[in-house]
């Protein structure tokens, strides 16, 4: 075996190194809790953030031989330059999640298990890396499991809280169910083609056979669970509500983003057959229409902000998958760009929800009434993030929506774009409801004035910079576009 192949997996190795260092640091830095002595926060959070930050910077853009497609381990591992970009986006998202988690992890009930949080999160990230760079269905499946099983532990992290434990149980059951569906689909595809390599499947599969169609449908259903598209979304609201807010942020952005990118690459590579690609385009069409419309209608009625963000995330996932339609290079750029923009805006909103929850324990939309009077800066930042989510210029959200719609329009799905556009108006309505609560409504018992911790401030600063600059500066899109590829 040629061990130099490991050098192609630079990003994975670097992340693994980060994980090991944090593991050792956690081992030596964390002291046994003693009776009567309050446990202090320690340095583990700082170490984790710095290391992940270094890892992010080190692998930010494809360079040093990673600009081209490389294949390692007989095709199990395939890497394209675009994947580095996607991984970078996920890195930044995870970094922001780490920053906003800091205050929450320093609470008394969590302080002894800080290290676990960072490790588990990074393991799911590693799983997503493998999933993204896989060239074989088994590799893909291992990555997927590595990305989803530890997530259940994260969802149930506040295990002393009934809802959190319940959410964890729900999540793991549905994750396993969807994995089973997906695996069954993969086995059917194996039956139809006799191979599990994406490229070979792409060459051998024929759209006429029932086996391959069934395999495709089951594969898409499994991915639909992971991305939480309607009608596979039923776990989302409960899980998001029950999970700790930080984990909800991670779930709604990072894990969803990785899954939708993988959906695109696998569909493009393994199901490129003309008849099949027509089939998955039709399937996606209805999934998107259902996701966007139904999630929007449900979001309007929500009172709990985390539940609200869950439905908002489902409809945003619909827009994200809109870029997959047609499998064009333009769509791929739009997808990655949308992911980046959605990530900063959504995590910004979650950072604020989290810091408000940590400081006042309030999580309902009504509680946010009059937030502008007491915490004007937070209210303003929240407004910017919500505007970006709703697609209001000059914030980045409008650019990303424009590009996604443009890609889908160019791929020939004009009426789908029109439906999606009408839905953006509904989504604007419910995002404005929160703005209205913060600015216009008054409250007799408003959220008290508080100072957020420095980690949260840094997280908010990153999100703010993203929301304001990523759109206006065209370079981001231009740069991502140089790596995009589509179906032939």
């Amino acid at each position: 075996m040629d061990y130099s192949q490991f050098l192609y997996m630079r990003e994975e190795l670097s992340l693994l190194a980060v994980i090991l260092i944090i593991f050792l640091a956690d081992l030596f830095l964390c002291k046994e809790p003693k009776e009567g002595v309050p446990v202090r926060g320690g340095k583990i959070g700082l170490i984790a953030c710095v290391l992940l930050g270094l890892h992010t910077l080190g692998n930010l853009i494809p360079c040093c031989g990673m600009e081209h497609e490389v294949t390692a381990f007989g095709g199990m591992y395939v890497h394209t330059a675009m994947m580095t970009i996607v991984k970078s986006v996920l890195n930044v998202g995870t970094l922001v999640v780490f920053l906003m988690a800091n205050g929450w992890l320093r609470r008394e009930e969590n302080v002894v298990k800080q290290g676990e949080f960072y490790l588990i999160t990074l393991f799911t990230l590693l799983g997503m890396y493998f999933m993204i760079s896989s060239g074989h269905f088994l590799m893909f499946f291992i990555g997927l499991e590595l990305a989803s099983v530890p997530l259940a532990a994260l969802v149930a992290f506040d295990k002393w809280r009934y809802e959190s434990a319940e959410a964890g149980a729900k999540f793991i059951l549905l994750a396993i169910f969807s994995s089973a569906l997906l695996l069954y689909g993969v086995s059917l595809i194996y039956g139809a083609t006799g191979t599990l390599y994406f490229t070979e499947i792409g060459a051998l599969i024929s759209g006429g056979s029932l086996l391959s169609i069934l395999g495709l449908v089951l594969f898409m259903a499994g991915m639909g669970f992971k991305i939480s598209l309607v009608p596979f979304h039923l776990w989302t609201a409960d899980t998001y509500q029950g999970a700790p807010t930080v984990v909800t942020g991670y779930l709604s952005v990072v894990s969803k983003g990785a899954a939708s990118f993988v959906l695109m690459t696998v569909l493009m590579k393994a199901f490129a057959d003309t008849q099949l690609s027509e089939a998955w385009n039709i399937g996606l069409f209805w999934l998107i229409v259902a996701s966007i419309t139904i999630a929007n209608l449900f979001a309007v009625r929500q009172q709990n902000l985390k539940r609200f963000m869950a439905f908002s995330a489902i409809s945003q996932a619909g827009y994200l998958v809109l870029a997959v339609m047609g499998g064009t290079a333009q769509g791929m750029t739009a997808l990655v760009y949308y992911l980046l923009v959605y990530m900063v805006a959504d995590l910004g909103a979650f950072a604020i929800i989290n810091v408000v929850e940590q400081n006042s324990g309030k999580i309902n939309i009504d509680d946010y009434d009059g937030l502008y009077e007491t915490n004007p800066k937070l209210a303003f930042l929240m407004t910017l993030c919500l505007f970006s989510l709703a697609g209001i210029p000059p914030f980045a959200g409008m650019f990303s929506k424009f590009f996604v719609f443009m890609a889908a329009f160019n791929a020939g799905y004009q009426w789908l774009v029109l439906i999606a556009l009408i839905n953006t108006v509904i989504s604007l309505y419910y995002y404005l409801l929160i703005v209205k609560a913060m600015y216009i409504k008054t409250n007799e018992t408003p959220i008290a004035k508080f100072r957020s911790d420095n980690y949260t401030r840094l997280a908010l600063f990153i999100c703010l910079a993203g929301v304001v600059l990523v759109g206006i500066l065209g370079v981001c899109y231009n740069y991502i576009d140089t790596f995009a590829y589509g179906m032939e």
Binding site: Q330, T333, F387, I392, P393, P394, M398, F402, F403, F405, M406, F409, N410, Q414, V417, L418, L421, I422, T424, V425, L428, Y429, L432, V435, K436, Y439, I440, G474, Y477, N478, D481
Partner: protein, 505 residues
């Protein structure tokens, strides 16, 4: 950097300044300095434009273009023609006077107000569809907070209704932009390039035009208060704070008419020729219906809002006639309506600030109590109903003369119907003026009220001066506008109407 970008840069600097300064005085200084700079720039631009136009007959002058998002051919392109220069001048005047009218407002108000004006200026200077659309939406969203926070009456409802309806319009619009862009080959977003089929653009297929023309026109039409989509306008204007009503009715509604003309009709001329009749009927309804509705209102702002629906209807009415005279008239009507309506809203705001009621049944004899405001109100009313000497007369006259050039029954009928609006306008304006200004004051409380303060007088006088100037010396403006209208109208008229689409022919 092209000097047109000053129009966007100055508001951005104002935002920065507002963010940094402390105290009411500092805010006023920043706003006054900024809006004066904008006004002077607009005046300088007008002079420069007229000089340049004399020697240069390119369609757009002072153009510049910078690559922005290269893979999608999106550029930041700016340029002006006669129409946009007139609109920039109007916007600068309204922003300038609006600053004086909202003298006592706080910092956040001015932040959103300035952002709104940045959007408006950006919209009028850009000639790239994406840039234009972006500025269009930038101008829309601050309205939500401006009305929601600082408005009066049922402001939450009005703010939400206005925002959602306008954003719904822009959803159609975005689809229309994609339709135009990909219909013309997907090579350029530049409006002039697409119209003249240069730089890789080819003619947009007729079927494509038939799909996207109605959507694009309706999308802009929502903002231009086109008949079934006008309902945001009365509620929004009635609830908005004074300067926001001024800016919104005075400038923002013009974005609709401008966009209909510059994007929907100019870029899809065949669609405009074939399907324009639908919208012509709708605007005809707007004109008459708006005027009738104004007759039965009892709230000062509602009266003016419905009057705006009627007058903005005339703008779309003029451009849909697709001839040089009517379209020039339509653009003058944009100017004229912008100025008169802003004056009206300013005066209503001042009166309301004193009487704390806008119900005309509760006010009489204000002429004795606040003579300055009352006289100005009469002037505004006369300007609004199109008295010769004021801008409204020139505009409406030109539109109807142009509209009468069409000799067929369909256009004749609509023209005559439109003309009746002048009479109806006179009815509600004269009744209103008689009711609230003349007679004896019966309300004890009203007797103690004061007349206008200096900054209010200044703003009102500026507006009246502009209205009178436009009304007495309209030629240079209409010439300037005519140079901008001519290429567009000629371009649309090279395409022949397919009469089979119009059942009324």
């Amino acid at each position: 950097m092209n000097f047109l970008s000053i129009f966007v840069l100055v508001p951005l600097l104002m935002l920065l300044g507002l963010w940094l300064v402390k105290g009411q005085k500092g805010i006023r200084c920043v706003m006054m300095a900024g809006s004066t700079v904008l006004l002077i720039t607009a005046a300088v631009l007008t002079v420069m434009f007229l000089q340049e136009r004399a020697v240069n007959d390119a369609e757009m002058l002072f153009t510049a273009s910078f690559d922005w998002i290269k893979p999608l051919h999106i550029k930041y392109s700016v340029g002006v023609d006669g129409i946009s220069v007139a609109m920039l001048l109007l916007s600068a005047v309204i922003v300038f006077t609006g600053t004086f009218v909202s003298w006592d407002m706080n910092k956040e108000y001015f932040l959103w107000f300035t952002l709104l004006s940045a959007g408006v200026f950006g919209f009028f200077i850009s000639i790239d569809m994406f840039t234009m659309f972006m500025f269009y939406e930038v101008a829309l969203i601050p309205m939500y907070l401006l009305i929601g926070v600082w408005g009066t009456g049922k402001k939450e409802y009005a703010a939400m209704k206005l925002t959602l309806m306008l954003m719904g319009g822009s959803a159609f619009l975005m689809c229309g932009i994609f339709g135009i862009f990909y219909g013309a080959g997907g090579e350029t977003m530049n409006i002039v390039d697409i119209a003249n089929q240069t730089n890789g653009a080819h003619a947009i297929p007729v079927e494509v035009q038939h799909i996207w023309f109605p959507l694009t026109f309706a999308g802009f039409g929502v903002l231009g208060a086109l008949f079934p989509f006008h309902t945001w306008s009365p509620d929004g204007h009635a609830s908005a704070p004074t300067a926001v009503s001024m800016l919104h009715a005075g400038v923002l509604m013009k974005l609709g008419g401008y966009g209909c003309f510059r994007i929907a009709m100019y870029l899809m001329p065949q669609g405009a020729q074939d399907l324009g009749w639908i919208f012509l009927i709708l605007t005809g309804i707007s004109v008459v219906y708006g005027a009738f509705s104004a007759c039965v209102q009892t709230d000062l702002k509602y009266i003016n809002a419905y009057s705006s629906v009627s007058h903005c209807g005339l703008v779309l009415f003029g451009i849909l006639m697709v001839n040089q005279v009517a379209a020039t008239g339509a653009v003058i009507q944009m100017l004229s309506h912008g100025l008169t309506t802003a004056l009206f809203f300013a005066l209503i705001g001042m009166i309301y600030g004193r009487t704390h009621t806008r119900d005309i049944r509760e006010m009489t004899g204000l002429m004795r109590i606040m003579p300055f405001l009352a006289v100005c109100y009469v002037i505004a009313g006369l300007a609004n109903l199109g008295l010769p000497g004021f801008s409204g007369f020139v505009a409406e006259m030109t539109i109807f003369v142009g509209a009468f050039e069409h000799a067929d029954t369909f256009h004749r009928f609509l023209t005559i119907a439109g003309c009746t609006s002048i009479v109806i306008t006179a009815v509600y304006i004269l009744r209103l003026v008689g009711k609230i200004l003349y007679g004896t004051a019966t309300n004890e409380h009203h007797l103690k009220l004061t007349d206008a303060r200096w900054e209010e007088r200044f703003a009102v006088i500026c507006l009246i001066f502009c209205i009178a100037a436009l009304g007495s010396a309209p030629l240079w403006v209409s010439n300037m506008i005519g140079t901008g209208v001519a290429p567009i109208v000629d371009h649309i008229n090279t395409f022949v109407t397919n009469a089979s689409f119009n059942p009324f022919f």
